[in-house]
Symmetry: C2
Subunit: 430 residues, 2 copies
């Protein structure tokens, strides 16, 4: 048996402990598949004494996480600390500068600094791998970098945040409203105490920007992602969507048309005929559309210690086998600078829901604003008054420019007839 | 730019022409992603003159396919001839013996001779790759070999034959019977003139045996796959299944329990809550269940020139990058000889449908046979007489040993009350 691949592990939260558990449980299997054992040799975390359910006394303990980059026996540093900057980034830079390959689950750091780190890794002939950063255990980075590598990708999109999908599919199953389900998810540990990173779409946007780089050969451009979360989706929206043959999902969508790179995280209406409509709970799913392969779907657990550890160790196995290359499929220096697409030029069908006062003339006002902006209405539903006396009006538009919908909403936004912000959702097109 | 990867291509049917078209269309992109161009240099097929919609005059023409293995400029031989033995196998052996890596879409050959060829490739330090052999464009070989490599796989299963799924989902959508849809599929080119390889499950079994090797680290054992096709599924079965909340899918299922390797291709009832129930048309989908990652799903086009070419060229890109290793994830010599599991020891829920004469006492006879064999019945449906006067009786059993169901059916098989063979389908369990 050849030399083991030796790991220095930063961060011993649930995922870090999961990586140790996985390497313990599947050690023999991993050695057979990787051609050599994978061993943790050193760890670092905030609290040495904390009980994590795994024995860490057999590893070197390093107080200062940054020191892992200089650990004399480690070949690879695994970073599970989190945070786009700070100790994670310091460790990443030092590891690659110091001749160690680097594996991370840190989507925020890769979204913000992936290009710099990929350049450093390539220059040094080292691996930088981040399968666990997108869709947890689902090998979608590999799917894009390698599985779909022969294709020009027209669009990549998917359900990238398990917390949001858990909430939306529970709202759907139980007919209850957002705040109630969120509170329950927090009690059960499915949502963070401060959930805004998840429910406001930032986490999904980090992941989307990583997928977009891989799919389109463009430099990561997190700042160009247009982000709307799920906070303002009502149970009534879900019911309306269902009556029309759709389910509501928070989708990250990226495409690279002639106008430049388009990246958006937004709640969408997904037709029941589409596989993403049937993805429930905290599952993640990513679709890539290639010019030869057609529509590929990758689906599985998007979070959790087991799935995330699975992706981290898959990266380690690739490194142990020597089967790795440029992190973004092509050399980082060859990635094109993306021009941001003009969203207004996009066309599509839309769902727009208004909360309005129950009085004469409101419908006419909405219809007129749509007409004046050139929005063609496919269907309009008005449902009886809410307990607070307001009424919901939901519109589905025909295919048309998004700019027109935006104009209509701008015009209506000041209206005294509306008792709340309109909710605009896109309908996922084929 | 470094030297191109040079390809000798055997077989210029739709897939072969598709590979040339893909390499033409995406040449610049492939060169960026692979780090060097991929070029076809030589081709061989039966008929040089045939119009394939691609210009082959720019390549060396080789009359004798086997000669491609000795082509002076080719680095890799791509085999798209088909057939488990004969010219394809001769070419594979000669290519690997002659120092050329080998890429194939040939599931029959890999199912029968994959182990021998993997040994040859590993000894020579060459690549043997066959992503296109299973699930067309879906990178499921890579998903198991690499993406899920950190996991002990408990079970791998899926929809592996597009023709069968096309027929079943069309029967489902239109309520029509098998023979009618098959004839239509043949007219449309979705089914072969001689469809038995597809509809009797052999094609799916080839693919399943390849997946099982990868998932469980066992030697390919195609001969151990228990195979039942879709020929005897009735529209009435699909309707019964629907009324119970299931869809019928031809699944290949493999697991490696304590009793040995279990491999079966059989029509199954799939609950609507499972993603495979929503896979329609000629789409393929594979699920792998890992001990850390949980349930992974890979889905996409299972056949066709574009998707198959996508998988072939993905393999070529891996080779161009130098990112390849043992074809079965671990050295072929390390694959365990699989003991075949005893199917009778398996437990599960089952659907059994009888076609019976419309006369007194038939139900009692069926019920007694079930009772005597110890089969516990969850529900029993009897539907009114068919045009020919026969009646359908469908039973769903509780969880129990398959042996008991087999015994009951053995007992009933001779009965004068049955007007046709009973149809036994397994219900996919969680």
């Amino acid at each position: 048996m050849t030399e083991p691949l030796r790991i220095a592990l930063a961060g011993l939260g649930t995922v870090g402990a999961g990586v140790i558990r996985l390497i313990d449980a599947n050690a023999a299997l991993i050695a057979r598949r990787a051609g050599r054992p994978i061993e943790v040799v050193a760890v670092s975390a905030r609290d040495r004494a904390k009980d994590r359910g795994v024995d860490i006394t057999r590893f070197d303990w390093v107080d200062d996480t940054a020191e892992l980059a200089r650990h004399p026996r480690a070949d690879v540093v695994v970073e599970l600390v989190g945070g786009s900057d700070g100790p994670a980034l310091t460790l990443a830079r030092a590891s690659l500068a110091g001749g160690k390959s680097f594996v991370t689950a840190n989507k925020a750091m890769i979204a913000h600094h992936g290009l710099e780190l990929a350049n450093a890794a390539e220059t040094a002939g080292l691996a930088l791998k981040f399968e666990a950063a997108v869709a947890g255990g689902v090998p979608v980075i590999k799917g894009l970098r390698e599985g779909a590598a022969a294709n020009e990708i027209a669009r990549v999109y998917g359900i990238l945040n398990g917390t949001c999908n858990f909430i939306l599919s529970k709202m759907e199953a139980e007919g209850r409203d957002f705040a109630e389900i969120l509170a329950e998810a927090q009690r059960l540990g499915y949502a963070e105490a401060d959930p805004s990173f998840d429910i406001d779409g930032v986490d999904a946007a980090h992941k989307l920007s990583i997928l977009a780089s891989l799919a389109f050969g463009t430099q990561p451009a997190f700042d160009q992602v247009a982000i709307t979360g799920v906070r303002h989706v009502l149970a009534a929206d879900i019911a309306e969507a269902a009556s029309l043959g759709y389910r509501i999902r928070l989708l990250g969508v990226a495409d690279a048309g002639s106008g430049g790179l388009f990246q958006r995280v937004h709640p969408h209406l997904v037709p029941l005929s589409h596989p993403l409509a049937h993805v429930t709970g905290s599952t993640n799913a990513v679709v890539a559309e290639g010019n030869f392969v057609g529509r590929l779907l990758f689906q599985g657990a998007g979070a959790g210690d087991g799935p995330t550890a699975s992706a981290v160790v898959a990266d380690l196995i690739d490194i142990a086998r020597g089967e790795f290359g440029p992190p973004y499929a092509m050399p980082a220096a060859a990635l094109a600078a993306p021009g941001a697409a003009d969203t207004g030029e996009r066309t599509g069908r839309a769902y727009v829901r208004f909360t309005v006062a129950d009085k004469v003339g409101v419908l006419a006002e909405i219809a007129a604003a749509m007409r004046d902006a050139g929005v063609s209405i496919e269907s309009l539903m008005q449902r009886g008054a809410n307990p607070d006396g307001s009424v919901l009006v939901a519109i589905v538009t025909h295919e048309g420019p998004e700019r027109a919908v935006a104009q209509a909403l701008d015009k209506l936004r000041g209206s005294a007839s509306l008792t709340g912000e309109p909710m605009w959702m896109h309908i996922l097109g084929g």
